[in-house]
């Protein structure tokens, strides 16, 4: 497991490292590690290939990129390798200990059919001269990238004790200025920016995407027709249903942990924003709050017992929670004059929020038990924090210039990176749950 004290000792402040990764789906994805820890030297040896044509995907490169982007590892260059084994039988540990490498990943891809492959990888501990994990997975050309991310997840978990989130997705909203106005798009990509897909586009704003627990559907707010309504769209088919279009505001949807209910904000004709829960199948709503203040941005605790929400009932926005069964809300945040948009970590231990920190809107996490608040981001307009399913990393939007960009940060604040992409204004990132394979 991770030793916090040692990690902190190696903290390197504001080391700016730009790594250019080239990919098929996008010209380039720039990742700046804006804050980081000392990175562990490892080696990811190019994979062997047995088959008819060439290897359809450089699996080792995907794994290496994943581990590099985590901010915790520094894979050595291929040119520096003294040997390039493709299985454990060819491993010479001395060749790696000379290089000061802690761990070595080797593997091979074998074509087993016209569109069928077998991916095998092994992870070795150089110091202990032993295999830490070895695995073989079937793949097709279409799933090869996900298989590579899964291998990286297993390697990452073995080396850090933290579950990997390389085989996950991120949904976000972009806005582009066009000649005839603005174009809003709801996008989904792999967490490394590859495989970007447009889910929906509109000349009217799109807001507040939220993943279903099975990561097959997205709920979102659309302003089509000059009014807000909430849709649930199935990603694979593109089919969508309108689940809430009541008079006034329909906003801030979030799925319950069992996927059956949606917490949302309804304003009604008189604009009294309150937290409601919608049974998706029955289309029945029940009201959880009745205060005349702004109550919005509801989100569930992972055990489904509570709904955390933003309310300005005390004057400025603060975070409250109410039993999902109803009852009297209790105030959760007391530090600072502005705390909004609560999101619980999937392990239930941390609460992320937008926190006004000496004039800057920043991402902060509060330890649910200890109640102490840790500011994680360094911008002036940071918003929309969303936990990765391993509870260890958050993604959020920041606005360094005119356009919003995405950043991620570890929940301890030690590793922060920026994910820059394209020319559009990117906002409201939401990290998917773990994907079913």
């Amino acid at each position: 497991m991770r030793n916090e004290a040692i990690v902190r000792k190696f903290l390197v402040n504001t080391c700016l490292i730009s790594i250019m990764l080239t990919g098929a789906a996008r010209a380039e994805l720039t990742i700046e590690i804006t804050e980081g820890i000392k990175r562990r030297p490892i080696a990811v040896v190019p994979f062997g290939f047995e088959g008819a044509a060439g290897m359809p995907l450089n699996v080792a490169e995907v794994i290496s990129s994943d581990l590099t982007r985590s901010g915790r590892f520094a894979p050595i260059a291929e040119d520096d390798m003294l040997q390039k084994p493709t299985s454990g039988l060819e491993m010479d540990f001395d060749d790696w200990s000379i290089l000061g490498v802690e761990a070595v990943v080797v593997g091979r891809v074998t074509q087993t059919g016209e569109n069928a492959y077998s991916v095998q990888f092994q992870l070795f501990d150089v110091f202990g001269r032993d295999q830490l994990v070895g695995y073989r997975m079937p793949a097709s050309r279409g799933t090869l990238r996900r298989v590579a991310h899964r291998a990286a997840d297993m390697i990452y978990e073995k080396l850090t004790g933290i579950k990997g989130v390389f085989d996950t997705k991120v949904a976000y909203v972009t806005a582009e200025q066009r000649a005839n106005g603005r174009l809003y798009s709801l996008m989904v990509s792999d967490q490394d920016g590859e495989n970007e897909h447009k889910i929906m586009e509109s000349n009217d704003p799109i807001m507040s995407p939220a993943w279903s627990p099975d990561s097959r559907r997205l709920a979102y707010v659309s302003f089509e027709g000059h009014r807000s309504s909430i849709f649930i769209q199935t990603l694979r088919s593109g089919n969508r249903i309108q689940v809430s279009s009541k008079p006034g505001i329909n906003g801030a949807p979030a799925f319950s942990p069992d996927g059956r209910e949606l917490v949302l904000t309804l304003g009604g004709l008189d604009g009294n924003l309150d937290i409601h829960v919608l049974d998706i199948n029955k289309r029945e709503t029940r009201r959880l709050t009745t205060h005349r203040s702004i109550d919005t941005e509801g989100s569930w605790s992972p055990d489904g017992r509570y709904i955390y929400f933003t309310s300005d009932r005390s004057g400025g926005p603060q975070i409250y929670r109410v039993s999902a069964a109803g009852g009297t809300p209790e105030r959760v945040t007391f530090e600072g004059s502005y705390n909004a948009r609560p999101r619980l970590s999937p392990d239930g231990e941390k609460l992320a929020m937008v926190h006004l920190d000496r004039g800057n809107y920043r991402i902060a996490v509060m330890d649910i038990k200890r109640k102490d608040l840790l500011v994680l981001s360094a911008g002036s307009q940071d918003e929309s924090p969303s936990f990765a399913p391993n509870s260890d990393i958050l993604i959020y939007a920041t606005r360094p210039g005119r356009n919003g960009v995405l950043e991620s940060v570890t929940a301890d604040g030690l590793i922060r990176q920026r994910l820059a992409s394209g020319q559009s204004d990117v906002r409201e990132p939401v990290w998917s749950p773990f994907q079913r394979f």
């Binding site: 603005r182 807001m207 009014r227 904000t265 604009g271 924003l273 006004l356």
Partner: protein, 173 residues
């Protein structure tokens, strides 16, 4: 009579502006003027002699009537000067039941997006309440909040933020 005609003409113009703005999602940051610019009902003065003159009434509704109401930071209270402008819109609605408005509430870009939807809605509701008090019917008024999603001015500075904290009164027929 002349005032009514002016009102109809200017309403027509406002409606055109509203229609045009539907094609262009970003609203024009300029205020749309509403009503006559040259003093509404004094133009019927007939200065041709002592015989057939008309009395000129004091009319609090004369003069420019703006369609954009601005708000202070994190506030949904109407500024005192604006309350009178909103009241005049309300009286127009009360006097002409065929008129309908959509109140579009907005917020500046700072802070959380859905909370800003709340702020925009509260601003639109503050405007709506004054209109209702003036006798407008609830069925004449629709509200929508775009939060920070449709800024009138771009830029991360006090000037842009002040222009974006607003309610736009849009006549929809």
């Amino acid at each position: 009579m002349s005032q009514y005609k002016l009102l109809v003409v200017s309403l027509f113009l406002v409606t055109l502006a509203a229609c045009a703005s539907q094609d262009i999602p970003d609203p024009d940051p300029m205020d749309t003027t509403y009503g006559s610019e040259d003093g509404a009902n004094t133009d019927s003065m007939d200065g041709s002699g002592l015989g057939d003159g008309e009395f000129v009434d004091y009319d609090p509704d004369a003069g420019e009537l703006t369609n954009t109401i601005y708000f202070d930071f994190d506030s949904y209270e109407l500024r005192p000067d604006d309350a009178e402008i909103v009241a005049r819109h309300g009286r127009q609605l009360a006097e002409n039941s065929r008129l309908n408005v959509r109140l579009e509430g907005h917020a500046d870009e700072r802070g959380s997006r859905e909370y800003n939807i709340g702020l925009g809605e509260r601003r639109a509701q503050a405007v709506r309440r004054v209109m209702l008090i003036q006798g407008a019917s609830a069925s004449q008024i629709a509200t929508v909040s775009f939060g920070e999603e449709r800024p009138a001015a771009f830029g991360s500075n006090e000037d842009a933020w002040a222009q974006n904290r607003r309610v736009e009164v849009k006549y929809t027929n």
